[in-house]
């Protein structure tokens, strides 16, 4: 079937083009946007050195690592409700390396990433063969089992009391400014890694696997192997978040790594947009910052927040990135009409 044959048969050749998922041709626009963002992220604490804002900013950067790494898993077509549990694994592994084994902080962070990644490597090949809702449930249960291990394995994890008195990563990063920039730098590296993966041929293969797994497999994509690789990497990054988080909060609460927190990471992705890296980043800001800035009673805050989630999901089923896509289409449509 070709265009010329279609014309012969008087079938109208469709003219609607769709901007491709790999975003060719928008590189220049993107680079300047990233630059502006970078300047903003580095610059605002110098203009507004408010410790509260800095804490919120640090928390946003921390959660962004988790949301972005979960995004990698989602792009392969799986939704994991165990991601917060992997953050927890990384947190405990890092803290125990530093406090019990006396290792330097960097090694601790690596141990955290390694522990989460190793666990992912063990369960990945089994669990990633499941599709859709079954994967969701199994990760949900696994996350709960891991959380129960945190609470029950008292000699190692301190049980439900958690671990207190965790030292900061380094004397330099013990001020709110220091913490923020430190976390921001590592978060930028982690998210940058995610961006590199997604914009490379790996990302193309991931999207192909998600959209039509059998077609992709028959084109040579090693589906299970790639899913496991991405899963291990993503959980490793979650472990990094864990290590950073523990030394930022200076305590570990074992109940902070359950299915509710994993679901939060999923919400950040769905509400921001599941199929573009900007999605989880927008979602993280929304989910972490929004409640903090609703002044007033804490409970009312949460009620309003819950309602706003309903509204966003109802109005923008594709997530908040839709706002970007829709405005682009409107602009393109307006430009088109001008000619």
């Amino acid at each position: 079937m070709t265009a010329s044959i279609m014309r012969k048969m008087d079938i109208p050749v469709p003219k609607v083009a769709l901007s491709s998922a790999t975003g060719e041709g928008r590189g220049g626009w993107r680079l300047s946007a990233l630059l502006v963002l970078a300047v903003f992220l580095v610059g605002w604490p110098l203009l507004l050195p408010n410790p509260f804002f800095l804490t919120v900013g640090t928390l946003i950067a921390l959660n962004a690592i988790g949301a972005a790494s979960l995004h990698l898993i989602i792009r392969t077509g799986h939704i994991s409700l165990a991601h917060a549990a992997f953050v927890g694994v990384g947190a405990y592994a890092c803290v125990l390396s530093v406090m019990t084994l006396g290792l330097p902080y960097w090694v601790g962070l690596l141990m955290g990433a390694g522990a989460s990644g190793s666990l992912a490597l063990i369960i990945g090949p089994i669990v990633l063969r499941l599709t859709g809702k079954y994967f969701v449930l199994v990760t949900f249960l696994l996350g709960e089992i891991i959380r129960m291990v945190f609470v029950e394995w008292v000699p190692v994890t301190g049980g439900s009391n958690g671990i207190f008195g965790i030292p900061t990563a380094h004397p330099i990063v013990s001020t709110p400014h220091g913490q923020y920039y430190f976390v921001l730098a590592i978060a930028a590296l982690c998210i940058g890694l995610c961006a590199c993966i997604l914009s490379s041929q790996i990302g193309r293969a991931m999207d192909a696997m998600r959209e039509a797994e059998q077609v992709a497999e028959c084109a040579g994509v090693p589906v299970i192997r790639l899913k496991v690789t991405i899963f291990v990497l993503a959980c490793g990054l979650a472990g990094v978040q864990g290590g950073l988080l523990a030394h930022f909060l200076r305590y570990i609460d074992p109940t902070a790594f359950g299915w509710v927190e994993s679901l939060n990471l999923v919400v950040m992705n769905v509400i921001g947009g599941m199929f573009h890296l900007a999605g989880p980043l927008i979602g993280t800001v929304f989910l972490v910052a929004f409640p903090e800035f609703l002044r007033g009673y804490v409970e009312l805050q949460r009620v309003i927040f819950g309602i706003s989630i309903i509204v966003v999901m109802a109005a923008l089923p594709g997530g908040m990135v839709e706002i970007g896509a829709r405005t682009r289409d409107i602009i393109a449509g307006a430009r088109g009409r001008k000619r």
Binding site: L130, K133, Y134, F140, L141, R302, V303, G306, I310, M313
Partner: protein
Amino acid sequence: MFTSAILAQVILNGVCLSAIYVLVALGFTLLFGIMKIVNFAHGAFAMLGGYALYYLYAEFRLPYPAAILLASVGVAACALVLEPLVFRWFYQKMFQSMIGLLGLNMAIVFTGVIVFDVYERSIPPVFSGVVRLGPLIAPTDRLLIVGIAAAVLAAFWAFMTRTRYGLAMRAAAQDVETAETQGIDTRVIYLLALFISIFMAALAGGIYAQTYALSPFMGDRPLMVAFIVVILGGMGSIPGAALGGILFGFAESFLSTFYGSAVSSFVSFGVVIALLIVRPWGLLGTPE
């Protein structure tokens, strides 16, 4: 340890738990099967049912049967009010429904915190006596609860198998599009499913509140169990949800009495995981 008295207790406890879990799971699976929504607010409605019962029975002193019935109907009516505002936007959209209804859950729970405050309450028992059935010493209250749950479940079963609307709902739970082409009015079915589903959740919440305690966050656990039970039984499968609820209830009763709640959770979750790896479509679901 395994005396007949204790075993009898475990069984009765299992029946109670199963009743709660089956009520919650049936509603959850109905909403998923027919409208493809994952109702993360299900626990919140159970919680509302608990508070409604508390106010009607303990505060306004209505006779118990009226109180529990009115409480459940009232909460189900609230859900109908919320239908055009919330639920309708998410029909047949699984992921969007998950997140949107999670937002609803948050809104309801924290409204509950504002209105009811955080402290736990308990509902006074209806009867304070006990009944002796052979080796079993059962609080009359418990038997009453089991009786009510059984009656509601029997009514549900009768409705689903004997009435026109019930059969229409089962057809829709299997395949909504085909049901539509058969001339079934999906608007009515959706509203009916929502009403029945939330009615049962609210009833379960009332029972839960009577058996344990009442707080705005009590819905989390029933929600989690509903989620597990429904997937265990096969999503969208009504008999599967019932079977899953019974298995889970008895397993939990047995394991937590003899081995503690941690072991109970570990084992049940582990078994469900193993089952899902081997048989992902659940006990009674259909492989796709």
